[in-house]
């Protein structure tokens, strides 16, 4: 019903916004867990143990994706705003790098 929203640059804008929200929500949890490493090592290791679960592995995969997509989306935005290139070139370049980064990053994590 909102066709004006469903074009590539609009989707890039939404993806950047939602990945940012996702990362912002994840950060406090991440910080809190790391602090546990010293205050309560046993509980930290118990937490780490659940990262072996498949569902948690998928969540980690998602986080790496959010990080990669937010970073490359942001670099694309800054290139578009500050460098005198044309818009389609930047979208393509950033998209390609983003996908490559995502695949290689998750490959490494899964390979462990």
């Amino acid at each position: 019903m909102r066709p004006e929203r469903t074009h590539p640059l609009w989707l890039a804008y939404m993806l950047h916004r939602w990945s940012g929200i996702g990362l912002a929500l994840f950060l406090p949890v991440h910080f809190w867990m790391l602090a546990l490493a010293i205050t309560d090592a046993a509980q930290f290791d118990a937490f780490i143990a659940i990262t072996d679960l498949v569902i948690v592995k998928l969540a980690e995969f998602g986080l790496v994706f959010l990080l990669a997509v937010h970073m490359f989306g942001g670099l694309r935005l800054m290139a578009l705003e500050w460098l005198p290139w044309s818009a389609p070139q930047k979208t393509l370049a950033a998209g390609a790098v983003g996908i490559a980064f995502f695949i290689s990053g998750t490959f490494f994590l899964q390979a462990v």
Binding site: G20, L27, A35, A37, I38, D45, A68, F108, V112
Partner: protein, 110 residues
């Protein structure tokens, strides 16, 4: 002018973080090999000035970057504005700095 300053701060922290994100992902890939444990993380990071500065800078930049982004989204999607909007954004920034600072201290000091 406030929004222009926030715009610049958000982009400058983004540029600062770009290499840190690469570094962090490299550390993640390296660290998860053979499983994670508190002892392993602390063994690598404790007493290291390098990791203190690396993650300290990261926490500082991400707190500013994320609170500015959330401020914009809160304004656009919830209609929050004026002093209240700025207070909420400042609170988010302070909370991230406090939590992140505590985490960095925990894993690098001593």
């Amino acid at each position: 002018m406030l929004e222009f300053r926030l715009y610049m701060a958000q982009r400058l922290t983004a540029l600062l973080m770009a290499p840190l994100v690469f570094g962090h992902i490299a550390v993640m890939i390296y660290a998860v090999q053979g499983g994670l444990s508190a002892a392993e993380i602390l063994g690598r990071t404790q007493g290291s000035v390098f990791w203190f500065l690396f993650y300290g800078t990261f926490v500082f930049a991400v707190s500013i970057h994320a609170s500015i982004g959330l401020r914009t989204i809160l304004h656009e999607w919830s209609g929050l504005k004026g002093g209240l909007l700025n207070a909420v954004a400042a609170l988010i920034c302070a909370a991230l700095l406090a939590l992140g600072g505590r985490a960095v201290m925990a894993v690098t000091l001593l």
